[in-house]
């Protein structure tokens, strides 16, 4: 509707300008052209930024990968900067495991909260939960890190001591391990998951629910068998956004991940792709610094893949929405 209107305005304005052009002074015409040029430039800035970021990430990341060897860099299992051993397999795996863990914990909780907000909550309760979610989204990531190191680490350490009490081979991490990092990440992706899931649940047409309850389904049955399946592509895009947020997060998990490049294990001190870069950037130089940019490039490739997946989901959403309208 609004698009049609905008197009109508476009044609109207085109006709109007062509009709009046003769009466208008050359100055105004020049001004119009200049402004149009400026706005077009502004529009292209985003494109230029993405191109520049891509080019610069490749320029600064590729040399290290070339020198170390792409196989050794990606699949080498030792990261030891002092001896110039730059294998980032443990970092890649940690990032993947950490993200998966955060999704496994965060998505169910987030989805249930979204269901509560869009389907079940009475207004007064909604007025409490909704601002809480908004606040959760607004809290800076360093604060998550600080709280994680003060609140989650001790709990996980106690758990670790309990589990590994009779295991002399286990290296105690003091709670700074993959498990703590997963918990922090799970909390951090909650607002993303909740907001997007809630929006897509609310967008499900009420007729669907009415048909379901009309057939005798209970409210909960309707939610889980009709509403959630109907909103699944929206929820999927929320999950993908959550993945992107979790894999790119650095500051929140700096203080809780432990920072040694071990293979991922729930109670191992680990290094993520992101924390590796932040922890070592300041004192790195030469090949080490280049290798960190190599890590950045790998992370960038991950993010671009996630972006394309997200774009695909959003496009198919639009298509189904259009075909439903027809």
């Amino acid at each position: 509707m609004s698009k049609a209107n905008a197009e109508a305005v476009g044609t109207v304005s085109a006709k109007a300008t062509s009709g009046i052009r003769s009466k208008r002074s050359g100055m105004t015409d020049a001004k119009e052209h200049v402004m149009k040029f400026i706005f077009t430039l502004c529009g292209i800035v985003a494109v230029a930024c993405v191109i520049m970021i891509t080019v610069y990430m490749i320029i600064s990341g590729a040399p290290a990968i070339g020198k170390i060897g792409i196989i050794e860099f990606l699949f080498g299992d030792t990261w030891y900067a002092k001896e110039e051993q730059f294998g980032i397999l443990p970092l890649i795996l940690t990032s993947i495991f950490g993200t998966c863990g955060a999704i496994v914990i965060g998505v169910p909780i987030g989805l249930m909260t979204a269901v509560f907000l869009s389907e079940l909550a009475p207004k007064p309760l909604k007025n409490i939960v909704k601002p809480a979610v908004e606040l959760l989204a607004a809290i800076p990531s360093v604060i998550y890190g600080l709280l994680g190191s003060m609140l989650i680490k001790p709990v996980i350490y106690a758990l670790e001591e309990m589990i590994f009490a009779n295991d002399p081979t286990h290296q105690f991490t003091g709670g700074a391990n993959l498990f703590s990092a997963i918990l922090v990440l799970a909390i951090m992706i909650l607002p993303t998951i909740i907001n997007i899931s809630e929006n897509s649940l609310s967008a499900v047409p009420p007729e669907y629910r009415e048909a379901s309850t009309g057939l005798g389904a209970t409210k909960i049955q309707t939610i889980f068998k009709v509403t959630i399946p109907a909103a699944k592509s929206g929820i999927a895009s929320g999950v993908v956004l959550g993945v992107g947020r979790a894999i790119g997060e650095a500051m929140a998990i700096m203080l809780v991940a432990g920072n040694s490049a071990n293979m991922p294990g729930l109670f191992n001190s680990v290094k993520f792709l992101t924390t590796g870069v932040v922890a070592e950037f300041a004192y790195s130089s030469g090949l080490h610094r280049q290798a960190l940019f190599g890590i950045g490039l790998v992370l960038f490739v991950f993010i671009m893949i996630i972006n394309f997946i997200l774009n695909g989901i959003l496009k198919s959403n639009k298509k189904t929405a259009k075909s439903e309208k027809k």
């Binding site: 208008r24 529009g43 985003a46 930024c49 909260t113 979610v133 990531s141 209970t218 790119g248």
Partner: protein, 298 residues
């Protein structure tokens, strides 16, 4: 027979146990989210008050000639970052939104611009940090500077401004434009006098949201704006030359306090409290603006 029918009828509502369990799960999850948020805030407020004092707020952090804990320097740095970033990003973002809604024809270029804007919002801040540190080093030849940080952040908040402004421009009724065009106004004149004034609060919302993002940002700043906490302003010229010097934001200072741990931990919490209050104020401001927009539109 009759009794049997009544037992199975809908009159006696059958409660499914799985429904009750699921409902309880849903309530627990929502309660958990609220409890997490409240718990975090209360914890920060309680621990943050320990190190809070007028001295903490009114002096910068320095270690010579004696150890002093303060955040004034970082508050000033954060203000610099906010102002410069918004000065750069707002015109470009609003301009891009105007191009997309008023000038661009639906086509390849629009699609590419929208896709890249989407991409920009998906790139994690640490990548911005790495990019900014190399790209702007090539231009300014300074390792760390507030300007480098601010320009990096400008790219980061661009998608927020473009998208929010675009939404605001789309809500301007077509009749306004038609009226203006019908009176013979050229396009730019129409945009300047009709479109922009009626979506000014949408732009304001986007600016407030972006400020929130800047204040909370840390990973992109460590590599670009650095970690210094001195004020270093003694003359009017310094106000401008400070832009080219290192300057750590509040978040960066908080991270440093937290990393050192021990006695400085309480100052980490005090910094967190300052940050939290700032973020709260920004959030409320964004809400108020959005609310007034809704009221105006009825």
């Amino acid at each position: 027979m009759a009794a049997n029918v009544k037992e199975n009828s809908l009159c006696k509502k059958h409660r499914r146990p799985s429904d009750i369990i699921l409902q309880i799960v849903i309530y627990i999850c929502s309660a958990l989210v609220v409890a997490l948020t409240l718990g975090m805030i209360i914890f920060i407020v309680i621990r943050g008050c320990e190190g809070m004092s007028w001295n903490f707020l009114s002096t910068p952090a320095f270690s010579y000639p004696y150890e002093n804990y303060g955040v004034l320097g970082n508050i000033i740095n954060t203000l610099y970052l906010v102002v410069i970033t918004m000065l750069v990003a707002t015109p470009i973002g609003v301009g891009a939104a105007i191009y997309l809604t008023e000038y661009a024809k639906q086509g390849r270029l629009t699609q590419i611009i929208e896709f890249t804007t989407e991409t920009l919002s998906g790139i994690p801040s640490i990548i911005y940090g790495l990019f900014g540190s190399v790209f702007f080093y090539n231009i300014f030849k300074v390792n760390y500077s507030i300007l480098t940080g601010a320009l990096t952040l400008s790219i980061m908040v661009l998608p927020t401004i473009v998208r929010t402004t675009q939404e605001a421009i789309k809500t301007v009724p077509a009749g306004y434009r038609e009226g203006s065009i019908g009176l013979g106004a050229p396009k730019w004149h129409m945009i300047r006098t009709v479109v922009l004034p009626s979506c000014i609060d949408g732009i304001l919302t986007s600016v407030i949201l972006s400020i929130g993002r800047i204040v909370g940002e840390s990973a992109a700043l460590i590599f670009t704006a650095g970690i210094a906490s001195e004020i270093n302003i003694s003359s009017i010229g310094d106000i401008f030359s400070k832009v080219m010097t290192q300057g750590g934001s509040l978040t960066v200072q908080l991270y440093q306090y937290a990393q050192r741990g021990g006695a400085e931990l309480k100052y980490a919490f005090s910094t967190a409290l300052v940050l939290l209050i700032t973020v709260l104020i920004i959030n409320i401001a964004a809400k108020l603006v959005a609310h007034s927009v809704r009221k105006k539109r009825g």
